[in-house]
């Protein structure tokens, strides 16, 4: 018999649909108990269009090829002591933030997509989520392996997962991931696949992966490019799920808009940490945070939402504020890290003269006016031996958990932005209208937040003094503080045959 030819689409459909069935010994609502409570109405799961038609055999084949190449490069990087070819050892602060802040989010994404991979009622959607679940596991594991060699030669990389559960600034990404994980499956996928991976992913990818390339970090660059084809599948899924939900029922629109508003702001606040990394930790920077924001959010994001306008979707609430903050964000975040640099797991440092000039050029309206004097002052204090780290712990925003450092950028950039609200007799503080809105929509959720500073005051973090808390964080004495006083710096100088400590690092 002559076999009928099947096109890719039909073939894929036969290999993924109709394998599942309508259960009858147990109610479908008991088999899939979680996909209705959020109020999203799905009338026909079969309308789901598979965004990438990968059967398992093809998946194993492609992914195994990528893995072989990646590990070959990681191995040779380690063998050849590739870390000595970095632009500068101060660049490692970015990698330290990455493995403690981002890698745990990869595992969180793995966990969440496994949950959806089991609990979405539609077969096609389940398979798509499972593929992403295993991809995200890949990302967590390959990042651990890529950074393993750095951990052998630099400080601050030794206990990323333990620290992710405890350290004050790491509760920013952790609480973001757990916000999504604790939500229902449709909100989870809107948050991670759409708000994070579709709308904002380049703002994470460019600074870390192009940043790695600009700074001689072959290991991370290779990982990044290896993950890129996974990410493009994830982005496609993000767009597909939004369209699918919107096309299924008109009642879904306001719910989805609310989630986009919320998770855009939530994810954007996580990226505030990335902005500081991009503008300050990178020795050589591919582009400034502001430039990246303008291209990837204002332009590309704007076009995307214009396109989605036909579904009735609008730009996320408070996006104008995020754009207005772009000229301040990285400077404010890096300032607080420098001021608390005795309590960070990476090294802080004032920008080199060259870097300050670069910042002036990239931020003509703000850097010289507001931020340069601050860094020059600290630099001078360090030379005079009068510099002191902040003695008090900062107040954290109840939602994003970043210290209250953001300012009224639209009216008076020197004025701290401070919002609060009362819930059941208690007062809660927020860094912005965005975070306050999120709280007010779901106060029962956000009162539960494990706020690191509150926890320290309540005695849950190893003790009442900074050294006790740092010990509880498993920060070793050489992990934090100024780069130029660090073991990383001394070893770097040794490797390169310089015994004179340089005055300012980042230029070389």
């Amino acid at each position: 018999m002559a076999a009928k030819k099947l096109n890719m689409r039909k073939r894929y459909e036969l290999l993924t649909r109709g394998i599942g069935w309508e259960t009858s010994y147990q109610k479908m609502d008991d088999v899939f108990p979680y996909d209705t409570f959020e109020g999203i109405k799905i009338t026909d799961w079969d309308k789901w269009e598979d965004p990438f038609r990968l059967t398992m055999d093809a998946y194993w084949k492609f992914q195994a090829e990528k893995e072989k190449k990646l590990y070959a490069i990681i191995d040779s990087f380690a063998q050849n002591n590739g870390q000595t070819n970095l632009a500068d050892a101060s660049y490692l602060s970015a990698i330290k933030l990455f493995i403690t802040g981002v890698t745990p989010l990869e595992y969180a994404a793995h966990h969440g997509f496994a949950h959806l991979g089991r609990h979405f009622r539609g077969e096609g959607a389940r398979v798509a989520c499972q593929m992403q679940a295993i991809d995200e596991l890949r990302h967590a594991q390959t990042q651990i392996h890529t950074i393993s060699h750095y951990n052998k030669h630099f400080t601050g990389l030794h206990d990323p997962f333990y620290q992710s559960d405890r350290v004050w600034y790491l509760s920013v990404p952790k609480s973001f991931g757990e916000d999504a994980l604790s939500a229902g499956p449709f909100e989870f996928i809107t948050s991670i696949s759409f708000a994070f991976e579709y709308v904002l992913t380049n703002l994470l990818f460019v600074p870390f992966m192009s940043g790695a390339a600009y700074n001689g970090d072959m290991a991370t660059t290779t990982f990044g490019f290896s993950a890129q084809s996974d990410e493009s599948r994830h982005m496609t899924l993000g767009l597909e799920i939004i369209k699918f939900m919107l096309e299924q029922h008109e009642d879904n629109l306001p719910i989805i808009q609310g989630w986009i508003d919320k998770h855009f702001w939530r994810a954007y606040r996580v990226l505030a940490l990335v902005s500081a990394m991009q503008d300050y930790m990178l020795t050589n920077t591919p582009m400034s945070w502001k430039e990246a924001w303008d291209i990837y959010f204002v332009e590309n994001g704007g076009a995307l939402f214009e396109d989605l306008g036909r579904y009735g979707l609008k730009m996320p609430k408070h996006h104008e504020l995020a754009t207005a903050e772009a000229e301040h964000l990285s400077h404010q975040v890096w300032s607080v890290f420098c001021a608390l640099g005795n309590a960070t797991g990476f090294h802080t440092f004032e920008p080199s003269d060259e870097k300050m000039d670069w910042l002036s050029e990239k931020y003509p309206n703000t850097f010289d006016k507001y931020y340069r004097p601050r860094f020059e002052h600290w630099k001078k204090q360090k030379e005079d031996g009068t510099f002191e780290y902040l003695a008090s712990l900062p107040q954290l925003c109840q939602v994003c958990q970043i210290p209250m450092i953001f300012t009224e950028v639209k009216t008076d950039p020197m004025q701290l932005s401070f919002r609060n609200t009362k819930f059941k007799g208690d007062n809660y503080h927020f860094c912005s209208d965005g975070c306050k809105d999120i709280f007010e929509n779901e106060p029962e959720k956000y009162v539960q937040a494990w706020l690191p500073v509150h926890q320290i005051f309540q005695g849950n973090c190893g003790g009442a003094t900074i050294p006790e808390v740092l010990k509880w964080y498993k920060f070793e004495p050489e992990d934090g503080g100024d780069y130029f006083d660090s073991q990383d710096f001394r070893r770097w100088q040794e490797w390169h045959g310089k015994d004179e400590p340089a005055k300012t690092g980042s230029d070389n």
Partner: protein
């Protein structure tokens, strides 16, 4: 910068990540498997209770009655992390791809005796729904389970089951020249055929089990422990003896996969049972429940597959399973 520094001249400041030094000491560097699998899952200071399960934290040891002092006592003997896993499977799929192409090109299924074809349609093709159920169940173990060593293996297992469901589907399509007659008939059998209802009922009951470790026992220890030897080994051999050797070319993946996979279920059974008397008792209770339930459910299919010997074939497979699990410390 072009400074040549030989590998030997740089002394590392530490051997590995802190959690691995704590677990395995600092005598020699941990393996890539250990780096990837251990302690990655969050364990403390969760921010928000799940809206979909307010009685538990996002990761919560109390989603099973099994109690482990250290959920990382278990190690996968295959040492699978994503890289080793995908590379192993890609080799297997390469062989499978070759075999499918060969059978397809020469129309080898066409030449099979009709009764063999019918046996494949009646017995093997409906098993794709069981693999699909196993995919769901292993996803459930991953997302409700505890500890990244266990959960990551469940993820790999889930994807394997999807892969096998797809291989079985391809056999169905090959049998019909890409028409879905066989697949449709097998689905109808699965949904309505009296011989399959015990199994479908059991699988659907597994979908709603609350304890993920009980699900592990039901699906990965017992159901797989009965089905794979019975159908993907003994029944295959019966087909081959009767002129259906071609089928074995298309299903080579399954027995291979199974003999590899029992290594981790054995290891998991052993570690969990050895932990405490209570665990051991609990595992025995579950084992008892699911062995008798599933043997009963499989029997009509076994009889359809083997004729009257089906009962004794199943009984032998059951004895082998109990003997194997007995060696791991699990008894009925």
């Amino acid at each position: 910068m072009s400074i040549e520094i030989s590998a030997k001249s740089i002394t590392p400041i530490r051997l590995s990540y802190g959690n691995l030094i704590e677990r395995f000491g600092d005598k020699r560097p941990p393996s890539r498997y250990q780096e990837a699998a251990y302690d990655v899952q969050p364990t403390a200071n969760f921010h928000y209770r799940p809206l979909w399960d307010k009685n538990h934290e996002i990761y919560d040891t109390s989603r099973t009655a099994i109690v482990m002092e250290d959920w990382y006592s278990f190690a996968d003997p295959r040492q699978y992390y994503y890289g080793t896993y995908t590379i192993a499977r890609s080799k297997q799929q390469e062989v499978a791809e070759h075999n499918y192409a060969f059978v397809d090109k020469r129309d080898l299924l066409e030449e099979l005796p009709d009764d063999i074809k019918q046996s494949v349609r009646d017995i093997l093709i409906p098993l794709r729904h069981i693999e699909w159920g196993a995919n769901m169940n292993n996803c459930q173990i991953d997302c409700m389970g505890y500890g990244s060593t266990i959960c990551s293996v469940a993820m790999f297992n889930a994807m394997d089951r999807l892969g096998m469901a797809q291989y079985i589907t391809r056999i169905g399509l090959l049998l019909d020249g890409n028409e879905t007659t066989t697949l449709d008939a097998a689905k109808k059998d699965w949904m309505e055929g009296p011989q399959w209802q015990g199994l479908r009922h059991a699988v659907e009951d597994m979908f709603v089990l609350e304890d993920w470790f009980e699900l592990m026992v039901a699906q990965n220890f017992v159901l797989d422990g009965l089905l794979f030897p019975l159908f993907w080994d003994r029944f295959e051999r019966k087909l081959s003896k009767n002129g259906g050797g071609t089928i074995a070319m298309l299903t080579e993946f399954m027995p291979q996969w199974y003999s590899e996979t029992v290594r981790w279920t054995n290891a998991l059974a052993k570690v969990t049972a050895a932990e405490s008397k209570e665990n051991k008792e609990l595992l025995s209770t579950w084992l008892n429940k699911w062995v008798s339930r599933l043997c009963e459910a499989i029997e009509p299919v076994a009889v359809e597959a083997f004729g009257p010997e089906g009962t004794s074939e199943l009984a032998e497979v059951k004895e082998e399973l109990l003997a194997r699990l007995g060696k791991q410390g699990l008894t009925i």
